[in-house]
């Protein structure tokens, strides 16, 4: 197997109060079958053995489901492969000897924690503002007690594919969270369970998005292009529609 060498340029930052800098690290003998995160594991093992601070980065499932890995790779959130997360990006997609720049998501709403890790709880607060349905707890209802049209179920499911990774914010020139908020609102707006609270939900989530400091949507469609779940910007149109409907609320 042909092992490869790379030059990494990595955004390093001790904590949110410390200045950031771009660290250059030479990595050798990397298998092209490794994922980007596995390569970072190898680099970190090496850094620990030479008594240097390992690179902090987020990961969990490592199969493109959780949305934890949040790295801008060579100027593109999640890297140049479409419809995948950073953990699904393999080193075979990089040329031998290539310089790879790794940076965290950059937005005022995403506060840096360390190196490639940012605080994305702004998304949680938007969800807490209204991204739910109020139901009485109890035993699960019968599967077919509420009939839902196939098209509505499909639309809701497409929007529900959002894993909340924040790549849409990272890629947007305005650091706008409209694709994320649009997906969360659209997911519930298509279903009868989400209908009673739709106006209050939209208003609350939009206002929280504004409060968190995300920018506005310029409809450049960059978010759709980098979204690992390929959420369509149609959800932004739906968010706009729900917002217009909620004005007289």
């Amino acid at each position: 197997m042909n092992l490869r060498n790379y030059t990494l340029k990595i955004w390093r930052q001790k904590d949110k109060f410390s200045p950031s800098y771009l660290d250059t690290i030479q990595v050798k003998d990397i298998s092209p079958d490794m994922s980007l995160l596995e390569m970072l594991d190898v680099v970190n093992n090496h850094l620990i053995t030479i008594n240097k601070e390992p690179i902090a980065f987020e990961s969990d499932c490592r199969e493109g489901i959780c949305g934890a890995c949040s790295i801008v790779i060579n100027g593109i959130p999640h890297g140049k492969e479409r419809g995948t997360t950073a953990c699904q990006l393999h080193m075979r997609h990089f040329e031998d000897g290539e310089t790879i720049t790794l940076e965290p998501w950059r937005a005022e709403a995403f506060i840096p924690i360390k190196d490639l890790v940012v605080d994305r709880t702004a998304f949680d607060r938007i969800q807490q503002a209204g991204g739910y349905i109020s139901v009485n707890t109890g035993s699960a209802p019968d599967a077919h007690s509420m009939l839902i049209h196939k098209n509505a179920a499909d639309e809701a499911f497409d929007a529900a594919a959002c894993i909340g990774c924040g790549a849409c914010v990272a890629a947007c020139k305005n650091a706008s969270a409209m694709l994320f908020v649009g997906a969360k609102i659209s997911q519930l707006a298509h279903l009868p369970q989400g209908d009673p609270e739709r106006k209050r939900r939209t208003n609350a989530m939009v206002m929280q998005m504004e409060k968190e400091g995300f920018g506005s949507c310029s409809n450049t469609l960059e978010c759709e292009a980098v979204c690992p779940k390929e959420i369509s910007t149609k959800v932004i149109a739906e968010l706009n529609w729900e917002f217009i409907r909620s004005i007289n609320n």
Partner: protein
């Protein structure tokens, strides 16, 4: 005085933030943009009469002046729309700049956005400069004060025989094309007309709409410069 302006500005910003939000601000931009697009179309129809000859073209501004109340109503509405569109753009741009103060080390590589969508602010600036120049040039006729009796048809001929003026107009129209081609689909998205499967068709329509409008606008100075339209 400056403190008063700043305090009024801050009160307006707080009001927008609490009542309209960034989503509502974009809706205002889309609505005012749609009104301005309508004006561009009506203006184009008026301009196209140049091809019908001197008399018909000269009768058009006279016809408008016969209805002074409607004309002034339209003018005030247009100015209000234009200022609202620009104010919202400035407001949103300022907010957007604050949403990412620390930039990436490597610039983001665009993979989904068009050139027109990334340069809306700049094409907008060119259009503002062009509108001011256009008013000074053809509405107030500031360059032709020594010739006050020149009719509009002759004024057009004299102006666009000058290649510098023609080139400036063409460049401004290219900016209009960029602004309109993205603005059309962006407004449709903001006004949620793209919720169905027509989204791609609307984008395509926006592009061709902007392209045809621009070509027709550009055709006038070019026709005069190439003497297709003559005295």
């Amino acid at each position: 005085m400056i403190t008063l302006i700043e305090s009024i500005e801050s009160k307006i910003c707080t009001l927008i933030e609490s009542k309209i939000s960034i989503v509502g601000s974009k809706v205002i931009m889309a609505l005012t943009g749609a009104c301005l697009t309508m004006f561009i179309l009506i203006h184009l129809l008026g301009n196209m009469q140049l091809y019908a000859g001197r008399d018909i073209f000269n009768s058009y501004p006279e016809l408008l002046r016969n209805f002074p109340i409607s004309l002034w109503f339209a003018r005030i509405l247009l100015i209000f729309t234009f200022i609202s569109h620009i104010s919202m753009a400035v407001y949103l741009e300022r907010k957007n700049k604050l949403s990412r103060i620390i930039q990436y080390n490597n610039e983001l590589i665009p993979i989904g956005s068009s050139f027109a969508s990334r340069t809306m602010l700049y094409s907008g600036f060119v259009i503002i400069a062009f509108v001011l120049f256009h008013l000074i040039h053809l509405t107030w006729k500031c360059f032709y004060v020594q010739n006050p009796n020149l009719d509009l048809y002759s004024l057009m001929i004299v102006s666009f025989r000058n290649p510098f003026i023609t080139i400036f107009y063409i460049l401004a129209q290219i900016s209009l094309f960029l602004h309109l081609s993205h603005g059309f689909s962006s407004a449709a998205q903001t006004l949620s007309l793209t919720r169905n499967k027509l989204a791609k068709n609307i984008r395509l329509f926006g592009f061709w709409f902007a392209f045809i409008v621009t070509i027709l606008y550009i055709s006038i100075p070019v026709s005069i410069l190439l003497r297709v339209i003559h005295d």
